[in-house]
């Protein structure tokens, strides 16, 4: 799934608040060699970006990789798109672990760089869990997303990428998303007894667990 | 009592009295302690101690101390031997003295090697 091979093709884009657009993406400069098999090999420098003022940068994506993926998982792939030259797959929540295993073992996305979540309260599935995975063999990233409603659990990928452990805990800590199958799901940054999930959009920046603060710190407010 | 030890005794009284007296005197000099609460708790990196510190520790400490005692006894036997050794050597009995000590040390060395084999001297 090299960037160059991506061929923008209009696919239905039911993404919620972002309006879908058919504007072609920024001209794709040959950022990386097609097969950066050795991660050590210094890829060619990216040419300076074309000074074209882009308006909307999210385009549906359908390249060879997506086709392969679709063939294997079919309906589990809800959506494939590209945003600023980055492939994004939105997949079905229930089959996340299976897909993750496939990505790790067959597509060689062996490192999970980052796992986080975004809260879109107005959508019917408000949480978007975002996984940024990286392949040493291909020297490229892939973004994987699953959607979850308020009470829905997301399968944990700790078994696939152990590094997800703390990151999932952090997401649980901040968003209250429960990861089923996580070995030790508890708060990580906030105190264990803290009430509320601060990174949800309905949690005000000045809000705090006043009861906890009073009880444990002996002060009225941490502000 | 040998007369040489009288100054030692007086000196001993002096040195034991010195820290004790200064400790008491310092009490009058320094401001009264107003500490309370956490300041009087043992240092536990900021977390309340989870258990009494006088718990149990590795048995290796015992083994080390025990070996020390044994070797200390050995040293205590070696020292009288050492101070006589020159005389024996001068009287051409050095070899006998040496052999008797080699015998003594040899038996203990057997124990040492056994411990070494057993790994009793390993800390980890």
């Amino acid at each position: 799934m090299a960037d160059e091979s991506k061929e923008p093709k209009p696919v239905h884009v039911p993404t919620g608040d972002k309006p879908a657009s058919s504007t072609p993406p920024v001209s794709t400069p040959s950022g990386k060699p097609a097969d950066a098999s050795a991660p050590a090999a210094p890829p060619k420098p990216p040419a300076p970006a074309a000074p074209k003022p882009p308006v909307v940068l999210q385009t549906p994506l359908d390249n060879e990789f997506v086709t392969r993926f679709r063939a294997k998982f079919g309906a589990a792939l809800l959506e494939a798109m590209e945003d600023r030259k980055q492939a994004i797959l939105i997949v079905e929540r229930a089959r996340l672990v299976e897909i993750a295993l496939h990505l790790r073992d067959d597509e060689k996305f062996d490192m999970l760089s980052d796992l986080t979540a975004v809260d879109w309260p107005k959508r019917d599935r408000r949480f978007e869990v975002v996984l940024n995975v990286y392949s040493f063999a291909k020297n490229e990233r892939l973004r994987l997303k699953v959607l979850a409603a308020d009470a829905e659990e997301v399968p944990s990928v700790v078994g696939v990428w152990p590094t997800a452990n703390w990151q999932e805990r952090e997401v649980f800590d901040m968003f209250g998303i429960v990861f089923s199958g996580h070995p030790d799901l508890k708060r990580i940054l906030l105190p264990d007894e803290w009430q509320g999930y601060p990174l949800r959009k309905d949690y005000d920046i000045l809000q705090q667990d006043t009861a906890w603060v009073r009880e444990n710190l002996g002060i009225e407010s941490g502000q | 009592m040998q007369s040489a030890y009288i100054p030692v005794l007086i000196y001993a009284a002096l040195v034991m009295a010195f820290p004790a007296v200064t400790l008491v005197l310092a009490k009058f000099i320094r401001p009264a302690s107003t500490s309370f609460g956490a300041k009087l708790k043992p240092y536990e990196c900021g977390i309340p101690p989870e258990s009494d510190a006088r718990g149990r520790y590795s048995v290796r400490f015992f083994i080390v101390a025990m070996l020390f005692v044994i070797f200390d006894v050995e040293t205590m036997f070696l020292i009288p031997w050492a101070i006589l050794y020159k005389g024996w050597v001068a009287a051409h009995q050095g070899l006998f003295a040496l052999v008797s000590m080699v015998l003594f040390l040899g038996i203990l060395l057997v124990g040492y090697l056994w411990l070494y084999k057993k790994g009793a001297l390993e800390w980890a």
Partner: protein, 100 residues
């Protein structure tokens, strides 16, 4: 040197205190310490007589006794450690098994 009786009495006192300690205390460590006291009482006698007769044999004996005390303490305390590990106690009356 004072008359030998002084030393004998001192030695006796320590010996008896040691015996009382051995018999009454439940904590085996204290029992062992009391035994050390008894050995010590013996040493006082030996040294006192050594002084009395001007013969260092008594002191040599005391030296051996101290070496012996070291060996005894090492093994005795080793037993206590082993016992404690198995039974979580250092009390004498609970040491009622020859084998565990």
């Amino acid at each position: 040197m004072l008359p030998i009786g002084h030393y004998l009495f001192l030695s006796l006192a320590l010996f008896i205190i040691g015996v009382i300690g051995v018999v009454t205390r439940r904590n085996v460590i204290v029992v062992l310490m009391s035994i050390e006291l008894i050995l010590n009482a013996v040493n006082i006698n030996l040294v006192a007589f050594s002084r009395l007769y001007g013969d260092v044999a008594g002191q040599v004996f005391a030296l051996f006794i101290i070496a012996d005390a070291a060996a005894e303490a090492a093994v005795g305390l080793g037993i206590i450690i082993a016992f404690f590990r198995n039974r979580e106690t250092v009390l004498a009356d609970e040491m009622d098994l020859l084998k565990w």
